[in-house]
């Protein structure tokens, strides 16, 4: 890759506010877990990491249900890092309020706010806010349409079935740039890829299992669909889970129990069988877990960037009950060593 291409690539950190443990293995409270994320974001900003993206859940094992509130906190204590959601479950939210909240974060951060809209793989927000699962498709379809209109930052007239109509409604605050960065997060649903292309939104791929190269055709689909709709096909980004430590062994030893705890706890509610160590190792070696030493993780990230030709890579960090100190050290290694090393590898002929 050329220096110019490499310079364009952005690196991010993504979190759902997983609950870490202290030195004695005791779980943090939700409040402590949120403050831990702020601490990590501040360090990430100091290290020059490009983005922090926070996802929305409404479950006991994740502390972040309101990403933009946490982002607002981060906004006032950081300088350069982009502040994103990952994702905002638009289906069970109100597009007008989502715009207002992120435009507010944009103000607090001098233009660093970014929204990633998605349907979310967890849908516990539906019963919580009084939405029907049977409206899953329609809710997202209608609300994305309304949100794309709000982004023009002009009075909006809109009519749908899932929300009150708007007649020449103006929404505030306006952003200073006139443009609130918005992307669509997709976990592999072809319809969502086509939808992103239809509205001309950039695409962020959540690649959480299996070999990343299976997403190559999805990027092709995004580009061809954009061409068909006459919209712009933007650079594509990806996010995948991972963990970094001094050695491969240390990284695996720390990540495995945390990852398994996460996987099995979710599996209990969804009815899948417990995770086996060989499956974990297979994901680390051939799949979508970026776990290992600086060199191992950097090589793997560089390979995915080259294979998928993405311009943004976000590492989902701190999955499961992991020591807060190990998480903080991981952020340090990612910013200080992994990212520069990835750029180096990409520059190799």
């Amino acid at each position: 890759m050329t220096d110019k291409e490499i310079a364009k690539i952005q690196f991010g950190l993504d979190s759902f506010g997983d609950i870490p443990v202290d030195e004695d293995g005791k779980l943090f409270t939700h409040a402590e877990a949120i403050r831990q994320v702020v601490k990590e974001a501040v360090l990430a900003d100091e290290l020059g990491i490009d983005v922090i993206a926070l996802g929305e859940h409404h479950r006991p094992d994740f502390s972040i249900s309101s990403p933009e509130t946490v982002l607002a906190g981060i906004a006032t204590v950081t300088k350069n890092i982009k502040l994103a959601s990952g994702v905002t479950v638009l289906s069970s939210d109100d597009p007008v309020r989502v715009f207002e909240r992120f435009a507010t974060v944009d103000a607090l951060s001098n233009g660093r706010a970014s929204v990633i809209l998605g349907r979310g793989s967890f849908t516990e927000s539906f019963p919580l806010f009084g939405y029907e699962m049977t409206d899953y498709e329609t809710l997202f379809e209608e609300k994305v349409e309304l949100f794309s209109k709000l982004l023009k930052e002009e009075p909006v007239t809109w009519e749908g079935t899932m929300r009150a109509s708007l007649d020449n409604a103006d929404v505030f605050p306006k952003t200073e740039s006139g443009h609130l960065e918005t992307m669509i997060g997709v976990g592999g649903s072809p319809q969502s890829v086509v939808r992103a292309a239809h509205y001309g939104f950039p695409l962020m791929l959540a690649i959480i299992g299996g070999s990343p190269d299976r997403f190559v055709p999805y990027i092709d689909l995004y580009q061809r669909a954009a061409k068909e709709f006459g919209t712009t096909a933007h650079p594509v980004g990806m996010h995948s889970p991972g963990f970094i430590a001094d050695t491969d062994k240390e990284a695996r030893d720390i990540a495995w129990p945390a990852h398994k705890a996460n996987f099995d706890r979710i599996g209990k509610t969804r009815g899948w069988t417990p995770m086996k160590r060989d499956h974990f190792i297979d994901e680390v070696e051939n799949g979508s877990l970026y776990i290992g030493s600086v060199e191992t993780v950097a090589q793997k990230i560089a390979k995915s960037i080259k294979t998928l030709k993405v311009e943004r890579f976000d590492l989902v960090y701190g999955g499961g009950p992991m020591a807060a100190s190990a998480r903080l050290k991981m952020v340090q290694l990612y910013g200080e060593k992994v990212i520069p090393r990835v750029r180096e590898i990409l520059a190799e002929k």
């Binding site: 592999g188 072809p190 299996g210 299976r214 061809r224 669909a225 068909e228 509610t269 899948w272 069988t273």
Partner: protein, 217 residues
């Protein structure tokens, strides 16, 4: 002996459907796919992600295919083209998924497996359960030619021997060792909460997991 299967139809155009379509094309089948609406709506998706397959409506797929794989959200099974699916051999790859289907007592009761509910609705079709217990990216990554040492197993449950054998042949051709586990009611062991849901292991291990599993009512 029934006629051999040449055309596989897939109803559903999501993640699972696309992977199964890719595997079926690779195996040399003629592949037809339907989404929830018009063929036009999914034509581009299908042509890019599963080149070689044809986008049609679900009724057309049901009419024209020798075997139809169901891969829509389970909660919407009553929208299937029942009339066109009459007498057809069906593979039910669907699972109840709260995140998509919401609360559905008709699909989550302990006395009937979800494929039996589908069979009751498609009363004049021949429903066999298969492919539901393996995640779509595992289906994508782990299909292997016959005889590969790392080949994984796919469990099959169905009431009619001839139907089950035909499905076993398709499973084998798509890249997995078929494991026959008995009648459709046994499919309960393959669905969420069952012995092997999410398992991608070889057929022998799959068999052991199923045999040692006790359903806790």
């Amino acid at each position: 002996m029934a006629d051999s299967i040449k055309t596989i139809g897939i109803i559903g155009a999501g993640k699972v459907s696309i992977v199964l379509a890719q595997l079926a094309i690779k195996a040399g089948y003629n592949v037809l796919i339907a989404g929830s609406g018009s063929a036009e709506k999914i034509a581009l998706t299908v042509s890019v992600l599963a080149p070689g397959s044809t986008a049609l409506t679900s009724a057309e797929v049901a009419t024209q295919a020798d075997l139809i794989i169901l891969a829509i959200p389970l909660g919407r099974y009553k929208e299937l083209p029942k009339k066109e699916l009459k007498n057809k051999l069906i593979i039910d790859s669907m699972n109840y998924w709260w995140e998509i289907d919401g609360d559905r007592p008709d699909l989550t009761g302990t006395d009937v497996s979800s494929s039996e509910a589908v069979q009751q609705f498609l009363s004049e079709s021949r429903v066999v359960k298969a492919f539901n217990h393996v995640g779509y990216h595992d289906l994508h990554n782990e299909a292997r030619p016959v005889g590969s040492i790392d080949r994984k197993g796919v469990a099959i449950a169905g009431d009619n021997t001839e139907d089950v054998e035909q499905v076993a042949e398709v499973v084998n051709n798509l890249g997995f060792d078929p494991l026959l586990i008995g009648p459709l009611a046994e499919g309960k062991k393959l669905q969420p909460g069952g012995a092997v849901f999410g398992a991608h292991v070889n057929a022998e291990t799959l068999k052991q997991m199923i045999n040692s599993f006790v359903i806790i009512e």
